[in-house]
Symmetry: C2
């Protein structure tokens, strides 16, 4: 391994000069600079980042935690995080937890161990040290930004949408288009975000003077498969629904499949509305009506908040709520 000392020796200068040549070239005389560069090329020297970081305050890297990398909803967010991060001079590393606490904790360890500067959480799991600090009323021990999820009482920057209002808008759409028996397939109810969507759904029905009977609410887990099963359950019930609101697009796609397999026409006999506006949704058959989340905005905001956090700059707003949008396509309304 060639080190800065090898370069110094080879170029006939001191290590300081080599270091400075790399960091503030103007402060080094031309000829020495050239000799240094020549030596670097000849010995193919690459500064050891580990050693550099021992001297630097920050790692210039952040870790984005995603529960499941195969959930396309997170992709858009990650991509916008990456764009902003690059611009701000950070590397982005993605860590997948698959819902496993120990994996998340492992990534959190990378922050305490200074291999990365902070964590952006896209999921609902909190690292153990953060959770215990929270429960003990102590401040959050590592730089943390929550995207998508909210935790009441946790004092850390977050960016979300108003999930309850969005779900309400989805249900309203079904009500306004004349649906009578509206069911829902929820996310895992341990999840605050899933609860919010269910609450919004219920609020809309109630406001319209309808009640959501218990058989019309089935719990899913955000996977296509669970949407498929959930729909089968709903179809085998006593009162077949004529509309279903799914808490994400994946489940909506599974629901459509179950309905079509059962011989129902979508949207004629069953209207389906999803949530997220996945790329695939627009190309489903029929194209999926859904709630569009501002993925680019979520990612960008989260990354800028992280940067501010790391620079101890006060944030004007620590809990940002971004606007959502109902996108009506063929799965909920019969073509004119």
């Amino acid at each position: 391994m060639t080190t800065i000392r090898d370069i110094a020796r080879h170029a006939g200068v001191s290590v300081t000069t080599v270091s400075r040549t790399l960091r503030e070239p103007e402060a080094v005389r031309r000829d020495k600079r050239d000799r240094v560069h020549a030596a670097i090329a000849e010995l193919s020297y690459v500064p050891n980042a580990i050693a550099q970081q021992l001297r630097r305050p920050r790692a210039e890297a952040i870790i984005v935690i995603v529960p499941a990398i195969d959930n396309p909803f997170f992709s858009g967010i990650i991509q916008s995080i990456e764009n902003v991060a690059h611009e701000l001079g950070y590397r982005v590393l993605i860590g997948e937890t698959q819902g496993r606490q120990e994996r998340l904790d492992h990534y959190a360890d990378m922050v305490t161990a200074r291999l990365a500067d902070g964590l952006i959480l896209l999921g609902s799991l909190l690292p153990t040290p953060v959770r215990s600090a929270f429960e003990a009323g102590r401040p959050v021990p590592i730089p943390l930004v929550l995207a998508c999820e909210r935790y009441d009482g946790l004092d850390c920057p977050s960016v979300t949408i108003d999930n309850a209002a969005a779900a309400e808008a989805a249900a309203d759409h079904l009500i306004r288009t004349g649906r009578q028996r509206i069911a829902t397939i929820t996310g895992p109810l341990a999840n605050p975000l899933a609860m919010d969507r269910l609450a919004g759904f219920r609020a809309a029905l109630q406001r319209a003077g309808m009640t959501a009977d218990e058989e019309a609410v089935v719990e899913g887990n955000f996977s296509v498969e669970s949407g498929h099963e959930g729909m089968q359950r709903l179809l085998s019930g006593p009162r077949r629904p004529d509309a279903v609101f799914c808490a994400n697009d994946e489940m909506a796609i599974g629901a459509i499949r179950a309905a079509v397999t059962a011989g129902l026409s979508v949207p004629g006999e069953l209207a389906v509305v999803g949530f997220d506006d996945l790329r695939f949704g627009a190309f489903a058959t029929p194209p999926l009506t859904t709630i569009r989340q501002p993925t680019a905005g979520i990612g960008e905001t989260a990354m800028r908040m992280m940067d501010a956090e790391l620079h101890q700059r006060g944030l004007s707003e620590r809990q940002v709520v971004l606007p959502h949008e109902l996108v009506v396509r063929g799965s909920s309304v019969v073509a004119a």
Copy 2:
């Protein structure tokens, strides 16, 4: 920041004892060990991983490079890489390139800079240092494993499927089920893998005494949108195809949408076959016939090869080819 010296002072022992307590506890007397642990807990000490790695030969981390994180095909591979990596004691960091050479190079730099031990490439781009070494006939400069892609002449471990044979199987299926005018939507033809699939497709037609006229071959870029556009192009041509082989499932989903929008029945008037066996494919309407890739096997093999590479263990096989499988669903055959 609390360091090992703080612990030593607080526990009234030397730094050596603290270090040893953490690394080989049996070699330290009980009472001192307890004092050290107490001090660690009290001062909430976490060893600085940066400093540790300055002394260690390896970072125990590998980086998986994926072209686009929103391509679900890679998810399965990544997940199996992660499972094996964990078991072998590595951290996995995921880097997305979005096809940008500079981003890939940035991640490759992390390896030369010892922040990670090696790179597993899921895409077709090579890091600049690797490419120039290749062109100059020098050995690959960093630990590298290719998953999915192949590079003729590049001496590095790889795991792939036989893309040509798989495409041939897909086309054969269409031929055997009586299709007459079989078209294809390819991947970007700069891509070896896309070329292999096209070659296999052509071989199958030729063997059956059919020719693939040039209007029946359109180039896509693996995105749903390009599948949609490609299908529109094929439908507006002089001889409407009665079957199309798409070089991946995403494009197949886009193709189905275009066909259905144009009023064609799938599979009645148009049979569609994809490639990859995405999770969503089975839930498409109609469910997608496709080539299943052994994603778990690809990921596991790639990670084990990387581990062998890092330990300088010779690999029995450096170019592994895994089996594929044709999965027939409703998009290519009319239900009995």
